[in-house]
Subunit: 193 residues, 2 copies
């Protein structure tokens, strides 16, 4: 029924991604894990704890909430796939936005997101290097609203840092009240769909 809609990100002592760094950007911390394992979940409550697991974050792949048709086509043309062989660096960045953000109407959120913060048009130039995927967590009652996921080649790490700097200096980011940056290195064979 869910066609790999739901995913669990387990932080613990094992997993195909090794944690190379964790920075609390804003808000409450998260316990430190040495590895992250990413798994599709058959059901939202299907995630049995792994040995050594210290946290589990869940999110759903979902439809786009702000992107118009023209933007969608530009993004699709520019965005690389996940699981590129050379993309052995990664990042999991869980984000929560404030109650003030969620109280805004759709047109107000869109205006801040794109017309003022250029979340889509401003980050297009990074897309050939940086693969990304967004998971939605808010409706699941999770501690974060979004799990953002990135994959890139080690040589593109500075490009990725610039992407993060651009977003974090935007008006949209003034509504982010919890953010944790977990940098990753792929350890084992490709396993994520």
């Amino acid at each position: 029924m869910n066609e790999e809609r739901l995913f669990g990100f387990a932080g613990g002592t094992s997993g195909e991604w090794r944690v190379t760094g964790q920075v609390i950007i804003r808000g409450e911390p998260l316990p430190t894990a040495s590895h992250v394992r990413v798994r599709p979940l058959a059901y939202v409550d299907a995630a049995d704890a792994l040995p050594g697991q210290v946290w589990l974050l869940r999110g759903a792949r979902s439809h786009e909430r702000y992107t118009n048709r023209a933007e969608h086509q530009r993004l699709s043309a520019a965005a690389p796939a996940l699981n590129r062989v050379e993309a052995t660096s990664g990042a999991l960045i869980p984000i929560r936005k404030s109650a003030a953000w969620w109280a805004l109407a759709q047109d107000e959120r869109r205006t801040i997101f794109e017309e003022r913060s250029r979340h889509i048009s401003g980050t297009l130039k990074y897309l050939p290097a940086i693969a990304r995927r967004l998971y939605h967590s808010r409706d699941l009652g999770e501690p974060f609203d979004f799990l953002t996921w990135f994959e890139f080649a080690p040589a593109d790490a500075a490009t990725f840092d610039q992407l993060l700097a651009d977003l974090r200096s935007s008006e949209e980011w003034t509504f982010v009240d919890r953010e944790i940056e977990i940098r990753l290195q792929r350890e084992s064979a490709l396993s994520m769909a």
Copy 2:
């Protein structure tokens, strides 16, 4: 953390709402229940099955996805609260939209939803009589995308039928591929938050 975000709707042999009729509008049926019980869920997986339960549908109260600020204010001014003493009639109508709908971009969905189907502006006139609440289920991996909930006085049943007829004759509804109408009568004291 979730401030009564998640709710479970359990169909079975007990509950504060008695089922007075069930109609398969489109798509796969749902087993018949004599009663529906509505409960907030502390976690998405916190719903233990009740004795006699034949189905459980889960959904999250969430932010508005299409409404602009002006529309939000008109809706808020017109909409009655849930749990009015006189509103002893109700309906639970789970709905699923097609893959074609979800593949549309935000601007395309908005255009169909409001500019062409007048989902907001066309139903405002029913709001003084009909209380409604939308629960989002799609990101939870549920069999329906939305659980729509309505409460009204028995004398307003024809008004409610007209609201349903308006929506079902809209372009938006050509994207609905599963819909079940469960009509309800309140049996016991008010219990829903």
